[in-house]
Symmetry: none
Subunit: 407 residues, 2 copies
């Protein structure tokens, strides 16, 4: 369950407020020439000072050696065992767009992509084709028909779209029931959708039919000549943070998927913001309203830069984040958590399995002895090297929201 | 199971002796002004020297963020998964008093308490009313009758008493089958006893009837005008340390509950001692008798001081404990474990979730590089940050009592 069994018997409603900041792709890795990680290279005086007043540690997003997607990365931080509570990317995107899925619907994350004459993918993101251009392509895709299925295609942003298939008795509850067509790397060919067992062959057939028709519609387009599909999934039902933790939680983010993740954990979600500065303004209003006691605040730029393999941009994104710390620190939360859903080392240009620094700050926490906010320093923090799913338990403990276990 | 599955296939009887010292509430937290923990502040030259000859680490009593009661705290140290092996406080108190529970009996921990005119609890412990005064109140409570139940009320000490209800087919085996009437905090009203499901409504009714009658008997008493009940439970049957570890274990303590815990794990228990000095004398006699190969020795004062929020007293309790180390070290055990069931930071005046230093000393162990016995130093010990339930496995291993696993 939500990390501790029958946690609802231990949690109690209190007036204390938890601000849980997730720096997407927070962790990094050492650079060849400097032997410094992005966090070590970045000038982060505010985070460094905060580290000296906090309980510090390193988190393992899912398990040793496991590189998480955004779904498990975030669910773990909300205290959900990411191995038990799995969710497809399609569902996350749908939730983030405010598309309410029912049990007869399958949600799929699509990318517009580019392939060469041999059908090999040259860019999984079609040079991050702009929303302006994608809108026309979405219109084309909406004309596709598959007998027995209703089709919705919605623009997410740039090269990203949501595909929803509606049918009857459409798919089983488990995930995955069919595999992705997106091989996840450039230089490979798109995959044919395969069922995970015989019972879901009809769904795989429908998806392959959609892809073939999409490729026929797009194949002469210079910006994006095909599509890649992944995260083919139905909406799961997870126990809510309200019920399990007795919290009134709200999620604040600038990108739909993270709001979708928040929703899955039962959070209310704030209106989508355009960037982190606006997120902080939203947060301030929420705090003033005094209707919530848990605030999930999402910072995206560090991950985006890491994914692009742009070390300098990642360092800058971390430095930018650091500048917001005084505001965050003084916003009125009793417990401040700063954590990351996973590492995104620029040197790998992708998510990774490396452990991620995190801290918990309250007026009660004192110096762990860590001089600065970094992967290396936090190795010796008082909270140790722990699974990310345990951070939520520590946050609740520091907020006085957990009763004693046993007598 | 007892932390490793089918551990009985790995354990072997040997002549080596394990002395397992539990310093109750051993861990602490950093002070505002000094940024030192109680252990860091205490002068503990003997523990510091021992640390330099031992394998050291930090233990997580139950799980990250979870604050344990004495039950799970101790059971974990005996190698029992404290989440799987749950036991009510009532049962622990009964066992510790030598009250042998049968399957038709429910044991309940009671507190004499004080409420104000509005019925709000002003002191859950009735100013720790003395045993002298409690004895008269116990006599009053013994006059209460509930149709279908036989009632025993026994003084534990000061404000604490044991209530045993005897009936037929009295309650199911699981725990909890009814909830506490003690809300756990001053400033709240006592709770009505609620069943955890329909089948146990009759027990809740009996308990509520007892509470109402008790309140009528006591309500004009200036020292204690009501009672609070918790840990309403039946005796569980746990696999014994004899069977699982092939040990002949004995428990030595000055307070009944810890003897009760030892009994639950299958230990013999020594006659109750009046303090730690007497416990050590008991231990010496036991060692001479040469009938046991596992000795659980309990040190209480550090926890008591921490619970009272008395930092200076806690530091002194740790310094007092330190003075007994030479005696303990030379008592004739092959493996010496020093561990704590949980932290009790004086700054919190309660048990807490913080990790707890522990060490294992044998003639074979060498310096881990830890200069002193403290939370901060032990972070970097060779045994790492581990669940408390694993310490027993390490103790057995160091005692040569574990065979190789697999070929």
């Amino acid at each position: 369950m939500i990390d501790f069994p029958e946690i609802e018997n231990l949690t109690r409603k209190t007036s204390s407020r938890i601000l849980f900041v997730v720096v997407d792709g927070l962790g990094g890795y050492f650079d060849d020439s400097t032997n410094k990680s992005e966090l070590e290279e970045a000038r982060t005086p505010n985070l460094d000072k905060l580290s000296r007043e906090s309980a510090c540690g390193l988190s393992i997003p899912v398990d040793h050696g496991i590189t998480p997607g955004s779904g498990p990365g975030h669910l773990a931080l909300f205290g959900y065992d990411p191995i038990k509570f799995q969710v497809g990317r399609g569902v996350l995107e749908a939730l983030g767009l405010g598309f309410e899925l029912n049990e007869n619907q399958i949600a799929i994350r699509g990318n517009f992509a580019l392939t060469n004459n041999e059908g090999v993918i040259t860019d999984r993101r079609a040079n991050r084709i702009s929303s302006d251009k994608s809108t026309g392509l979405i219109k084309s895709l909406s004309s596709i028909t598959i007998p027995g299925f209703k089709i919705n295609v919605e623009l997410i942003r740039d090269h990203r779209f949501l595909l929803v298939l509606t049918g009857e008795n459409i798919a089983p509850d488990y995930y995955p029931f069919v595999y992705d067509t997106d091989p996840g790397l450039n230089g490979l060919k798109p995959l044919t959708c395969q069922p995970t067992n015989k019972a879901t062959k009809n769904i795989a057939d429908a998806i392959n039919s959609f892809v073939i028709q999409a490729h026929e519609l797009l194949h002469d387009n210079q910006h994006a000549n095909t599509i890649l599909l992944r995260g083919i999934s139905k909406a799961p039902t997870f126990p809510s943070m309200q019920k399990k933790y007795k919290l009134s939680p709200i999620g604040i983010a600038a990108y739909p998927m993270y709001l979708g993740l928040a929703k899955l954990a039962g959070m209310e979600i704030a209106a989508k913001n355009t960037g982190f500065a606006e997120e902080i303004e939203s947060l301030k209003s929420m705090i003033k309203l005094n209707q919530h006691d848990f605030f999930f605040l999402h910072y995206k730029p560090a991950d985006a830069a890491g994914e692009d393999g742009d070390r300098r941009a990642k360092v800058k994104a971390l430095e930018d984040f650091d500048k917001s710390i005084p505001d965050i620190k003084n916003i009125g939360a009793d417990v401040l958590v700063i954590a990351g859903d996973h590492s995104t080392p620029a040197v790998l240009a992708s998510h990774s399995w490396h452990s991620v620094p995190f801290l918990i700050n309250t007026s009660f926490t004192k110096a762990d002895g860590q001089g600065s906010f970094s992967e290396r320093e936090f190795r010796n923090g008082s909270l140790g090297l722990i699974k990310a799913k345990s951070i939520m338990m520590l946050a609740l403990a520091h907020a006085g929201k957990l009763k004693k276990f046993g007598s």
